[in-house]
Amino acid sequence: MPLKLKKTIAPGLVTAFLFCLPLFLSGDYYLTMVCSLFLYVTISQSWNLLGGYTGQINVGQSAFFGTGALVARLLWTGGLPFIPALLCGAFSSVLLSLVIGIPALRLRGHYFAIGTLAVAWIAFLLAENLFPGVTFLPGKYVATYSLLPRYYLYLVIMLSTILVVFLVVHSRMGLAMEAIREDEEAAQASGVNMTKYKVIAFVISSFFVGLAGGAFAYFHVSYYWYLPFILMWCFEPILITFIGGAGTLWGPIIGSFCYVALKEVFALTLGEVNVLIFGAVFIFIILFFPKGIIGVPEKLQEHLSKKAKSRQSARQKV
């Protein structure tokens, strides 16, 4: 794919801006918020590759996120340098996706969703029982703890996720994935190796989720071992992707932005009922804007042109 200079300017500027952002942001509060934004973009973008582009609704993200976090944390606190520990975490989540993915991807429709949900649930129960209690960072790590390397780790992981998804989607592979989403039988009939592309999408997706899990383990000083396994990590990427617009590169990014912003605003202003209002907003978007926020301008245009047309036809009748 020839790189077009014009098209790389805007993303390049945004990237440069994000790399310089910590210089302008004062206070840990905003930096932490931006970090969680990056985390959400990563997990929802990788969900988007499998769910949005390939059409396989994976409700088991938390199993892969948690595995990445667990392995990376264990190895890192065990004495391994962080980067190898992070990669080990990501690869163990890929391994899990291969073990589970190959049988699970034969399932269709709600069977795949139920199956992956069951995997997430098993992972949660096992984590809760096998690793009770809280994990603390050893004292020497806490002494040198600083937010900046965490920020850059999240940033790099997010950018590489977006880049990889972009490259995959704009290749032959991406076409095959979208063909599978639109019609499995038709794709198979025209020679698309369905299992191969589903497994590839699953593996790429779980690799980046595993990385994100490792970053989560690096970020927090202490947390309950089971925290990265809770089912919220399954549902959040789905919520975000559909709020933004599934099957588009910008969807998860816009979705995460809105999600973090809404959560922040609602939590500050509404107190306890914030999740309730959030659920209502989410249902509203699914019902009335099935293409997500990214589809809003298109829908408005459609609506306006329909109005114009009906006005025209009314005039003709007169």
Partner: protein
């Protein structure tokens, strides 16, 4: 002898599972709506029974008709507002959209329940709550016997209702071919609306029994988890199989509690679910293929 006691409790638990799952078997298995908020509806039913018991002194079993009526109306409103627009979708799209919408519902209902009833665990305890009788040296609670009888009545009642009556058969017809059913003169909208309401009101029966064990706002996802396992075990589209699947799951869980400990019973049942999904996705109690 101890294992026999475990089996007795397994059968009773299994009957509760079947009672919760039977509504989901109708809504998901036949109507094709992936309804994650099902457990939350059972939770609402349980709280209604709890309320009626606490404030009006009504026995939880006697409050069933009232809470069934309330849940029926909630179900009608829910279907009208949220799910009726999906009836013409392709199965895949319907599953996806209904899953997302019902997940939003889970968020709403859970938090509403916390606001109304607080996050504490509640329980109805009547005069006969802890009473048991002796059966060949095993303790059998009276509530358990009523539960098993109710489960048999409800599951097989629904089974024959769907197989034998005109209304029931038109639900099947709509699930097979929406356009064709309409051409055959079935009032598609009204039939689906009432079927959804029936599915909801059945959870009230389960709720009345759950209220006698323990109810808190967060039990919704646990119950929908159990119900999904049972619907898959029974075979999507099978109603009568729900009773056997419930018993099987209940007994397996309590026997595995005996062997591997209470903490891992959830894992055992989910592993069974995965095995069924991989090796026999049409379910063990269904004759034909599920979908």
């Amino acid at each position: 002898m101890e294992i026999g006691q475990f089996i007795i409790y397994g059968i009773i638990n299994g009957s509760i599972y079947a009672l919760v799952a039977v509504g989901l078997a109708l809504i998901m298995g036949i109507m094709g709506i992936f309804y994650l908020a099902h457990g939350c509806m059972a939770m609402i039913g349980a709280y209604i029974s709890f309320w009626l018991f606490q404030d009006a002194g009504l026995d939880p079993f006697l409050s069933i008709p009232l809470s069934m009526g309330i849940l029926f109306i909630i179900g009608l409103a829910m279907y009208k507002g949220l799910f009726s627009s999906m009836k013409a979708f392709s199965p895949g799209q319907k599953i996806r959209n209904s899953m997302l919408v019902s997940f939003g519902l889970v968020l709403i209902i859970e938090n509403m329940a916390v606001l109304i009833w607080t996050a504490n665990e509640r329980r109805v305890s009547t005069d006969y709550s802890g009473l048991t009788f002796d059966l060949a040296g095993l303790r059998v609670p009276y509530i358990g016997v009523v539960t098993v009888i109710l489960a048999i009545l409800v599951v097989f009642g629904l089974h024959y209702f769907l197989k034998k009556t005109f209304f029931g058969r038109s639900i099947w017809a709509i699930s097979q071919d929406y356009q064709c059913a309409r051409l055959m003169g079935i009032n598609v909208d009204r039939t689906m609306l009432i079927a959804f309401g029936i599915g909801m009101s059945l959870t009230a029966i389960a709720g009345a029994i759950i209220s006698q064990y323990s109810v808190s706002p967060s039990i919704g996802l646990d119950w929908v988890n159990k119900s999904l396992i049972i619907v898959v075990l029974a075979g999507v589209g099978s109603i009568g199989g729900v009773f056997y699947a419930g018993l099987l799951l209940g007994v397996l869980e309590s026997v595995s509690a005996y062997f591997v400990g209470v903490h891992y019973t959830g894992v055992v049942s989910l592993v069974i679910l995965l095995l069924i999904l991989v090796f026999r996705p049409q379910g063990i109690f269904a004759k034909g293929a599920g979908i």
